[in-house]
């Protein structure tokens, strides 16, 4: 190879190296290789602290429509969820329960860690939709009305169970679950369990412990256990001695035939007017 050819090759290599495009491309690629492990580490920590959203499924893509799905992918799932919630609210005002449920399913899929959506969705299905069906369903037979009601209760239950799986630390969801099982599904044992679970969460109000004990008192075969809990609550102090608790204790002491010497409450209610019917007293609490 001649000297001039060699010099041309060197010059061309130098030109190639000093080309801005090559340098820019090299920078991006090298940085890409360097940052991948760093990003993997940060991603892991995000997951550890529950700061990563759930994966968007293809099923959700079909339900949301393309534009909303792209917005959700583009980092605006909270915004899309909010707009869908407003649409669901309009559907509620028009008593379009099927559409409302469909929209709320999308909202909870987009924002599975927002407890308020799970809670309100369950409330709408378990209380509003089920009552509407009873009042305006116009079913030819009572059995069909009951079945429709039951379907809405099941929907509410499904929302709450999924909500609890997604946000197990949220006491509000356990409380609504307890309310649903007690008020709508006639399941005091399940209700008591839900209240108890809720009472063990951080920030849970004290009344959840009492609710758990009240419902346990209604759970067949658990009267002795309920009595022990109510008694323990009563002995904790004045702030726990609410009329409902006293009434429940009295009922259980009578039912379990607790000897007079061991009783905390007198067998018959006092005759003062405000205590004649403790259920209607100001401090009465009904779970």
């Amino acid at each position: 190879m001649s000297a001039s050819t060699q010099s041309c090759a060197v010059k061309s290599r130098r030109r190639w190296l000093s080309d801005g495009r090559v340098l820019a491309g090299a920078l991006i690629v090298i940085f890409g290789l360097v940052r991948l492990p760093i990003e993997k580490n940060i991603e892991g920590q995000f997951r550890e602290f529950g700061l990563r959203p759930a994966t968007l499924t293809l099923e959700l893509r079909e339900r949301l429509g393309q534009s909303a799905f792209i917005a959700a992918l583009g980092g605006y799932r909270a915004l899309v969820a909010s707009f869908l919630w407003i649409t669901a609210h309009v559907a509620w005002e028009n008593t379009e329960w099927g559409r409302m449920n469909h929209l709320m399913q999308n909202v909870v899929a987009l924002q599975p860690r927002a407890w308020i959506y799970w809670d309100r969705a369950a409330w709408h299905m378990g209380w509003n939709a089920s009552v509407w069906v009873r009042q305006h369903g116009n079913f030819p037979r009572e059995a069909l009305t009951l079945r429709a009601e039951r379907a809405y209760y099941e929907l509410a239950l499904d929302y709450l169970h999924r909500g609890v799986r997604n946000i197990p630390e949220q006491w509000e969801l356990f409380m609504t679950l307890g309310h649903l099982l007690a008020d709508k599904m006639n399941d005091p044992c399940g209700s008591s369990k839900a209240y108890r679970e809720g009472s063990q969460r951080v920030g849970a109000p004290g009344y959840l412990r009492r609710f758990a004990a009240y419902k346990l008192a209604e759970c067949p075969g658990h009267e002795q256990e309920a009595y022990k809990e109510l008694r323990a609550l009563y002995l904790e102090g004045k702030e726990q001695r609410l009329p409902t608790l006293i009434t429940k204790l009295r009922e259980l002491e009578n039912l379990l035939a607790i000897p007079a010497s061991q009783r905390l409450i007198s067998p018959s209610p006092p005759s003062s007017p405000e205590n004649l019917n403790p259920q209607k007293s100001e401090n009465t609490e009904t779970p």
Binding site: G20, I28, T55, A78, S82
Partner: protein
Amino acid sequence: MTASEPFNQAKDVTPHKRFSSGRILAIASNTLTELTRTKVFYFLFIFGLVLLGSSMLSNNFSFGEEFQMLKDVALGAIGIFSTLLAILSTAMLLPRDIEDRTLYTILAKPVPRHDYILGKLLGVFYLLFISIAVMSVLFIILLAHREGIRIGQAALMYENPDDLVAAQNQIRAAAFTPGLWAGLFLILLRACILAAVTLLLSSFATSNLFTIVMAFTVYLIGHIQSIARQYWLESGDLNAFQKVFLSITAIIFPDLQMFNIVDEVVVGRAVPWFLVIKVFGLGTMYILIYLGATLALFRSKEL
């Protein structure tokens, strides 16, 4: 004055610096002035209307729903406006200076190209910071106002002081969630990265439209790629082509999901500060690398 004086004065003149923070700041403040003259801050009126509208709309909901929606809409709007600002304002910087011939006037003076690029990017950062700060203040004022109203309503509803305190605490916890500040900070950081990417694109783009379209594509891919990666990895059956495709995408495009924690912040998740600092470090690296690549391209650009 003697004849030799002018020569002596010339000796005293400070030598021309290759890098001057004064020059960069001058270009940055000039860029901000130019952008302000394009009436870019008018979008704040739209943002205010969005906030007001969502506040009026969410008035019909319970306080939990109201605060959730207010935060969703406000943080979403801040995210959208900051993205639009970052991409659109940066995309027009270089082409406009070339069209107006301002670029030639500046570079004809002893202003190195890197000072010019740094100043331009810093000007956009100023704009983004001011815009996001104003939007955040408006949002915080509205949130505090609604919180005050709800606390007042609770005072009328509860007679028992313990119940009242519990209700007020619940309202406060629902309104100002702990990660809110971190969320706003990372929105700003993401916008700055987008501005750096757009400047890189505009340094070799042939038209404004190309820069804008490409920047939005990078934005979308930046958000989707980690979801696609997660989806494919969870499905488990990756073929060789998919592996190569995923690797190339991950290397070339920024992972913008790293800077998106808004969805979790609005539901009340706390973000540890050490994690915010780590993400800030990563974001700074992104900006520096894109800036380096822009300088490399702009240095060899024929003007």
